[in-house]
Amino acid sequence: MSGAAGTGRTPRAVWIVLAVLGALVVAGLVAWPLGGWDTVTPSSARIPALHTGQLHRGAQLATRIEGAEVGPAYPDGRTPLHGGRVLTVTALVEDLDDAPATATDLAATIVVPGLTAALGDPDIRVASDGTSMGDLGPSVPTRLTLSWRVRTGAYRAGSELELRVIDRRPVESVLSVGTRWVDPRVAALWHGTLAAGPPATPDDAAFGGSGS
């Protein structure tokens, strides 16, 4: 006899097998209370789809996207002061909280990927009369238009558009009285086809709208 067997020592291969088995046992014990090992879909791929007209209820706002369009003017016919075109999303929004949702809250609720950071907050108006939307009070569902100025050619009628509906969680404000909404996350994805927006009003087109 020769080698490990001859000297009475345990062969190295046996230790390796034992180490692997031990690791599997430990992994199994760790996984047991967590529900076991399974093939899962990453959470980022599980963002629910939001269909046109479907209601999404977040912690602060309920949102129902009704459509999107792109054209030369804002819904009231004004044209962008500094040129470009206008991408407008129409949505029914309701404040589910006890306190008013600010214009900042509303502006951060629907995001066009890759657009908002570049061109700023949307122009938010009440769809029925075109007045600028300030705070949205609780339990008053309101149809809003959110309009972004976009670069000419960046979006075309008939093309596909993705919108992200953002949800946040409330925390008590420290520096002031009330609630702050923090930790934004994508809560739903809307996909739809861009319609053609309204034409510009001739008088406004000559001088340019405020765009804000």
Binding site: V126, G137, S139, V140, T142
Partner: protein
């Protein structure tokens, strides 16, 4: 001072610190509004505001010269006389019912909160709140001040009884107008 005395003294200081911490005003009290109560028709005076709520009306639609606005719920329209005492600026407010709060609506272009009110020069105008029908109850609290939620500043508070008040189909609202003092 022996050890027992020192321990008792230390324990007493801990209890005293606990009492101080436990009875300290909450941040909402320290930073919140300083309420001044009033009734409809009664003049109320705060640090930088003098107001008299003259009346309240409810309507489904408001209209002015070049604007018509339908409410998803109901418009609560407050007619008031207001002036500031120290500085020029807006007079605005909020309406609280059952823990829910609505700020003055920006929609009516003739809203008083879109006008700068000057010291000693009273104006009469309207503030409108867009609320759901479920908010039409007695005991609504109208809060008026230099901002919707005054912090460490006066807030005029007026109780409004909205239950059973008639809701008009349409109501005309006019731009603020100055009045003789």
């Amino acid at each position: 001072m022996n050890r027992v005395t020192a321990a008792l003294a230390g324990l007493g200081l801990v209890v005293a610190a606990g009492l101080v911490a436990g009875t300290a005003p909450a941040p909402s009290v320290l930073q919140g509004p300083i309420p001044v109560g009033a009734a409809v028709g009664q003049q109320a005076q705060g640090r930088d505001i003098v107001v008299t709520v003259q009346g309240v009306a409810l309507a489904r639609t408001l209209r002015s010269d070049d604007w018509t606005g339908a409410a998803s719920g109901v418009w609560v329209v407050v007619r008031l006389r207001a002036e500031t005492r120290l500085t020029s600026g807006a007079v605005t407010g909020s309406l609280t019912v059952g823990g829910r709060t609505w700020n003055v609506s920006d929609r009516p272009p003739v809203s008083l909160d879109q006008t700068s009110v000057d010291p000693g020069l009273p104006v009469e105008g309207v503030l409108a709140f867009e609320v759901p029908r479920s908010a039409l109850v007695d005991g609504a609290i109208l809060q008026l001040g230099r901002s919707p939620r005054p912090q460490a500043d006066s807030a005029i508070r007026v109780r409004l009884d909205l239950a059973g008040a008639p809701v008009r189909p349409s109501l005309r609202v006019d731009a603020p107008q100055g009045v003789g003092s």
